[in-house]
Symmetry: C2
Subunit: 153 residues, 2 copies
């Protein structure tokens, strides 16, 4: 993945290398804040804005994806192969779900309900409760910004 960064014209700085390495190794879709805190010991002078800038640059270059699937901060996904996501309404955890290859072929088909809308990708969102939250019981809620309203559609 590091080689890809160069290939897109982005400069290979130590901060970027660290961010890319950390993100590529992490399947849990970390937030910018989480990455920042994990990297702070190694790069104590790195600015928080650099994490945002870098993730934004990576996403713009098509090297990672920014996910906004639930309230709260964006999460970043190093997996650029087509796939779906399972989102926990309690803790906000996002998990990859491999997509059936045959269904991915439906991408770019016109939407009868939205004439003129040019579809570039289709993803499926499975909303529910992850195993950990289910085990923790019904009274638990994730700290901070999540609440019952995290449920959508």
């Amino acid at each position: 993945m590091l080689a890809c960064v160069r290939a897109t014209g982005l400069k290979l700085t130590p901060q970027r290398m660290a961010i890319v390495r950390e993100l590529a190794a992490d399947p849990t879709h970390p937030t910018a804040q989480e990455l920042f805190e994990r990297l702070r010991p190694a790069l104590p002078t790195m600015s928080f804005a650099t994490v945002y800038n870098t993730l934004d640059a990576l996403a713009s270059a098509g090297l990672c994806a920014a996910l906004s699937l639930a309230p709260g901060p964006s999460r970043f996904d190093p997996n650029m192969k087509p796939h779906h996501h399972a989102v926990c309404d309690r803790c906000g955890e996002v998990r990859d779900i491999p997509s059936d290859a045959h269904r991915a072929a439906a991408v770019a088909r016109a939407l009868p309900a939205a004439p003129g809308f040019e579809v570039r990708s289709v993803e499926q969102i499975y909303r529910g409760v992850c195993a950990a939250c289910a085990a923790a019981g019904a009274q638990e809620r994730r700290p901070g910004r999540a609440s019952a309203r995290a449920r959508t559609s």
Copy 2:
């Protein structure tokens, strides 16, 4: 819908009636800010927090859905029937897409890739460019928080 508000134990205040009426009549998935500004002429003393509180209460009661499908503020959806969404990567517009009834039956099926995850709903997200943005040309971007990184997966 107003009757439903009472039915869930929520009190029927003038503010709530106005918010519910405005939201129910609007298929464009308005943000809290948009609703607040539209209602301000009629309810000039209403607080912005009241709009958030009310929408949160409605969503918790299952009378509307809070959508977080793209960067930027949450959008609210009065349509509680199962359906999908088309999201414009440029302007952030969200449009309803009716769901095939037979596919909705797949809800609650276990996910082999995420054992223990209890699926409560499945929705499909079509990402792309809406007709208006496509007509406006490739150089246009939506104001504020959107950018190329709005693309996900």
